[in-house]
């Protein structure tokens, strides 16, 4: 992870004033004083988030060439385009904290930076595209809605913009899955299979359980996160479980049930699998990093040409 620029020793007064601003609900803006640890955590989170958008283009992008109708093909192209756009805003937001795009990309390509573990699961049928829209974007929206209230201005504003687009993707994903669940037997089976494969990864993508999430208290104190992972996960399940059941699908968790407060309580999550995937042993980790690296390496001569052309234009303009 990129290290923040070394700062003069932070005084307790500075820190207190900073925390008071956050307490007051003020947004922290790029030029403002902030603790080095705040800067560092934000760069980590925002760049991970950006990487997730960029890597997330791969499992979905692969289906543009396999979409079953021209209409769905257009929608999917538009969606993946949006994701690339989100990657752009987010890299830009991280740049306001002093990280450079090159540093961040380098961290991604060498495997030092993380991206959402969900994208290391394979997309094996077209129904996966619908299910990703419904569950993965659904989970992302819960998280991003929370982050839209984050204390860092550029991140908060990026989240607002991203959320509104994601909401649209979420709706389209749900619409697809609901239609397939009522379609031909093969479509129905495909929808159920997609749910079987994506349900648990979607729960896991909201992050480790609170007790294994040591950063959370500090992040909440600084107003970067407003809710814990488990709280966001509960919101996600409460919304999606009844809708999936309503669609006629079976959630692959025999212990799932509603408690007296109306919360849907899930069975135990296989966190071993989560950590395996995070550590690089998911089904697609290797392929995803290879694809990104290949794109980067194959594009080197193009970026060189761009730079050479720009330099030439400048020197001509200077003449």
């Amino acid at each position: 992870m990129t290290q923040p620029t070394p700062l003069p020793t932070e005084t307790p007064e500075q820190l207190a004033a900073f925390e008071a601003r956050i307490q007051n609900g003020e947004k922290i803006e790029p030029g403002d004083w902030m603790p080095a640890a705040y800067r560092q955590q934000l760069i980590r989170m925002i760049s991970q988030h950006a990487h997730s958008e960029v890597v997330g283009m791969l499992p979905e992008g692969a289906w543009i060439t396999r979409a079953p109708s021209l209409h769905r093909k257009m929608i999917l192209i538009a969606k993946v385009q949006d994701e690339a756009g989100h990657g752009q805003y987010l890299y830009h937001a991280a740049e306001t904290l002093g990280a450079t795009r090159e540093q961040m990309l380098d961290a991604l390509l060498t495997g030092k930076a993380k991206y959402s573990s969900i994208f290391n699961y394979p997309t094996l049928t077209w129904a996966d595209i619908g299910m990703i829209g419904w569950l993965v974007d659904g989970a992302a929206i819960k998280n991003q809605t929370m982050l839209a209230g984050a204390s860092y201005g550029p991140y908060s504003r990026a989240m607002v913009r991203i959320c509104s687009e994601e909401t649209f993707h979420h709706k389209q994903g749900k619409e697809m899955v609901v239609a397939y669940a009522q379609g031909t037997p093969a479509q129905r089976e495909m929808a159920q299979d997609a749910l079987d494969r994506w349900w648990w990864p979607a729960l896991m993508m909201l992050g480790p359980s609170d007790k294994d999430s040591p950063n959370t208290p500090q992040l909440m104190r600084w107003g970067v996160k407003l809710k814990t992972n488990d709280e966001v996960r509960q919101e996600f399940i409460n919304e999606h479980a009844p809708e999936l059941i309503e669609a006629g699908l079976t959630i692959p968790d025999p212990l799932l049930h509603q408690d007296e407060q109306g919360n849907w309580i899930h069975g135990p999550i296989n966190w071993d699998e989560f950590w395996q995937v995070v550590k690089g042993h998911g089904q697609m980790n290797r392929a995803r990093l290879e694809a990104r690296n290949r794109a980067h390496d194959d594009g080197a001569w193009v970026r060189d040409a761009l730079n050479a052309y720009e330099a030439r234009q400048h020197s001509q303009a200077a003449d």
Binding site: L58, T65, I77, A179, W301, Y309
Partner: protein, 246 residues
């Protein structure tokens, strides 16, 4: 009517196949900005194909998705230029430029169509197409005047692609009637404008247009590359041939 259907399908097939090739870059472009730009172009191309196929459906009732996902390589009527494998970024940008120049000029002429629905489609599409052309023309210039390597790659692409371009301007079956009736533009006239535009830009970008005639292919002839493309493109639709809703 038969002649108009043939022309509409040819226009649609070119867009669908080229959009497929462009889509192969999604997530793999040299800079993130170009993932967006190229996806945008592909999306517009699919949009244009849908407009042409909607016009066709009004003429003979054949449905766009049926035509797109259930014809084999022997029935597609795209030019070979658009089915050539993806290649490198220079190959992709040059092909897109050559095609965009064709499409922008063709649509510009098509706005004068005496067949109102077609003139309307042309009016809509021509604006997008001019934007594509601007984008790809700039890329040709950047790569042509960039580094030694980028110029060489672009020139290699031109050496391969140039002979295929003449196919874009072949009249389709029965088109003479359509031209006479002012329904579609004369491809020969579009060719002349295209040739002037493109040669000047390639020249300005430091490239040499190869000599020689074009390949004498017809739109019924295809390479194995189209087969592989269609296998992928049609796999989902064909696996669920009985699906009513997507």
């Amino acid at each position: 009517k038969r002649a108009l259907i043939t022309r509409l399908q040819a226009l649609a097939d070119d867009e669908i196949i080229l959009a497929h090739r462009d889509s192969e870059w999604t997530g793999h472009a040299p800079i993130l900005e170009e993932d967006i730009a190229l996806a945008n172009i592909a999306q517009d191309e699919i949009g244009h194909a849908l407009m042409y196929l909607t016009l066709r459906e009004q003429l003979d009732g054949q449905q766009a998705d049926q035509l797109t996902f259930f014809r084999g390589p022997r029935e597609y009527t795209n030019v070979q230029l658009v089915e050539l494998p993806k290649g490198d970024w220079a190959f992709t940008m040059l092909r897109q430029y050559l095609y965009d120049a064709f499409e922008a000029l063709y649509l510009d002429a098509l706005r004068a169509s005496t067949y109102a629905p077609l003139a309307e489609v042309a009016n809509k599409a021509v604006r997008e197409e001019k934007f594509h052309l601007q984008h790809t023309a700039l890329w040709v210039e950047r790569l042509g005047l960039g580094t030694e390597e980028s110029r060489r790659r672009l020139q290699d692409a031109l050496n391969t692609q140039w002979a295929y371009t003449s196919q874009l301007f072949q009249p389709t079956d029965g088109e003479a009637e359509l031209i006479a009736a002012g329904i579609t533009p004369d491809p020969a006239a579009v060719h002349a404008r295209w040739d002037g535009l493109v040669r000047a830009h390639l020249d300005r970008s430091g490239l040499q247009v190869p000599a020689g005639d074009g390949h004498p292919f017809t739109r019924a002839q295809h390479s194995e590359a189209l087969l592989y493309l269609l296998t992928e493109m049609q796999s989902t639709a064909r696996e669920h041939a009985d699906a009513q809703v997507w």
